[in-house]
Amino acid sequence: MRTVCIVGVGMSQWGEVWKQSLRDIHTDAALKAIKNSGVDHIDSMYVGCMSGGMFVGQEHLASLLTDYMGMRGLPATRVESACASGGLAVRSAYIEVASGISDIVMASGVEKMTDVDGDEATYALAAAADQEFEVFHGATFPGLYAMMAHVHIAKYGTTREMLSAISVKNHNNGSMNPVAQYPFKVTMDQVANSVMVADPLHILDCSPITDGAAAAILCTEEIAKSLGKPYVKIIGTSVGTDTIQLAQRADLTTIKAATIAANGAFKMAGKTINDIEFCEVHDCFTIAELMVLESIGKYKPGKAGEAILAGETALDGAFPVNTSGGLKSKGHPVGATGVAQVIEVYKQLTGQAEGDRQLKSSPKIGMTQNMGGSGGSSVVHIMEVA
């Protein structure tokens, strides 16, 4: 396999975007990535999108989006794995470059979620859960993660303060991210006293619905070098799956798909969790960040909360997590999230993270963990400075 690099990235402004449609925000991010990379063409594209159909009534996105990028005829593929669609697009692009099929491939992700009201958005997102065994019976994503949180609380004594600290940290980081949807800080009290969504999860434990797109240019190392721009190497990529219904899982306090994906990526990269210096994880809910940090082996089961409270995962901590602001503050356009996570690691490794969120430690290795649904799928990437 050939070495695969990321050489340029682009994102649309994330948030509630009234004046642009799905195709507009995707084109915005895609053209920014192409310009940022300096490539004069791309050979193909993979776009991650969870539910263009339910959110804006538009499927067949690969053709539509290449057309609007001015690249009609380009080989293009849409990939879908719920909220892990973006991560899977990056992995698909990686495979195409690594295999030698193409030299320059765009991995992008997009979701336009705010054109429907809250009930419809909740329903569309719930399509990532098991319809017959969960959704038909009334479960929604906040409800499913709330159940996971309750089990974690019962088993390990996880506290409100631990969950609140995750939201506080991610909002602090996101306040320095110019594309973030909610770039403001919150306090422990504000999180604990925010509106209850699904006990024990308050609204400030939950990621928002977001319009957003993200794109990255993947290419061979030879091309990356020739462009003369900062680039990073992808040294590990893996995807893990699990039953999407919670009822079939042996343990609700761990996310097996994340463990599988992380282990696969570690093996490929020849690294362990101890080699990873910082990480973007899928904090669709605060409890998800906590459980993922345990599932990828960073902390022992039941121990992530204490580390978070001790500031270990803060920007200046031993293991910064979600320096971008995470899904919580940056926003969570489900199809784009996985690509945006990779973009944050690229920026941190190349010293391009905006404002004071650039890590002072000049990290050499970073990781992303993207998750589909309540953990039915997970995609992990490990990146290293060139």
Partner: protein, 349 residues
């Protein structure tokens, strides 16, 4: 110079608290109280509708006008989205009750929450053109909010009436500006009982865009700035929106306070900014400038610049003050009573 000769307001005595509605629907009362700055709202009892509210308000406007003989009123325009009849004007009944018939022009207006300021705009245009001595504009609603909908926490009732003329003015109208686009943020189709709305779309792209559009254009046109005004009144679908738009435009909390009624009145729809203007006239001094901006879904805003005259002090006490109606002699009701009063319980025929 055209302007206001007399004004009056009427509000129901009945109130329901946000907590009482939230309790029934399992909603989070603190988030409505804090997020939308709503504490309670007025509720019309069973024998009160847009017509009866309008008659009371118009009678008070006549008391303040003093000089106006009802038969001298050349036109009556009633802006509301809750006219009791789909076909049959509200204005005919009101004009008759006031003794203003039969030599009078009449029309009912509808433009969501902006119908009242439209009536004021058109009434004023007639007297300004010299077609008639006086014209009566009424802004009244007994607005609808579907059970459990966010609107149910704000949809309230009230009426403001303004007699327009060219002499004996208590407030001169310096200038106006109207701003409108095709923006469907809130609507009720024929035969529907309750309106529907576009959720968050009703904010940024609707209320704020149009109130700011109409306000900025008028400030520019008049070559005035927020600090030139003693007071400002904005359409108030809740407590938060008018506060936010006022502060963003450069007005202060002190300038909007007198006319900022929504936190304890709710949204009186067509009546909202006109009643806010009346409450401001209740305390304004001669020479004060008042800025006013309405908003109606669909969507548009009318903005007005009023200058208070010396005559305000002579007529102000001729009728009850708005804040007194808002705060005194209230009857608090529970949700069951509210559901009965608002005919939310559907019976078999």
């Amino acid at each position: 110079m055209a302007g206001i000769v007399g004004y009056g307001v009427h509000l129901p005595r009945h109130r329901i608290k946000v907590e009482e509605i939230a309790k029934v629907w399992g909603a989070d009362a603190p988030s409505y109280k804090k997020g939308l700055m709503l504490r309670e709202k007025s509720v019309p009892p069973p024998d009160m509708d847009t017509i009866t509210l309008s008659v009371e308000a118009a009678r008070r406007a006549l008391k303040r006008a003093v000089v106006v003989d009802p038969t001298e009123i050349g036109a009556i325009y009633v802006g509301s989205e809750s006219h009791p009849y789909a076909v049959k004007p509200s204005g005919t009944t009101i004009a008759d009750a006031l003794g203003a018939t039969p030599d009078i022009h009449c029309a009912d207006f509808e433009f969501a929450c902006k119908a009242g300021s439209e009536a004021m705009f058109v009434a004023m245009s007639h007297v300004k053109a010299g077609e008639m001595k006086y014209a009566l504009a009424i802004a009244a609603d007994t607005s609808q909010g579907a059970p459990s909908d966010a609107l149910e926490f704000s949809a309230a009732a009230g009426a403001g009436a303004f007699i327009m003329g060219t002499d004996n003015l208590i407030a001169e109208c310096g200038m106006t500006h109207s701003y409108m686009t095709d923006t469907p943020d809130f609507w009720r189709r024929e035969h529907q009982f309750y309106p529907q709305h576009g959720g968050r779309f009703t904010g940024e792209e609707s209320y704020f865009k149009h109130t700011k559009g109409a306000s900025l254009a008028l400030l520019e046109k008049s070559n005035m700035k927020p600090s030139d005004f003693a007071y400002a009144v904005f359409h108030q679908p809740n407590g938060k929106f008018p506060q936010r738009v006022a502060l963003e435009l450069g007005f202060t909390q002190e300038q909007i306070d007198p006319g900022w009624l929504a936190p304890t009145l709710g949204n009186t729809y067509s009546g909202a900014s006109p009643i806010g203007l009346a409450a401001t006239l209740d305390i304004a001094k001669p020479g004060d400038y008042i800025f006013m901006c309405s908003y109606g879904s669909g969507a548009g805003s009318d903005s007005f610049i009023w200058k208070v005259t010396d005559r305000i002090n002579e007529v102000r006490e001729n009728a009850v003050l708005t804040r007194k109606l808002l705060a005194e002699n209230l009857i608090y009701i529970d949700y069951g009573t509210y559901a009965k009063y608002r005919r939310k319980i559907k019976m078999n025929d």
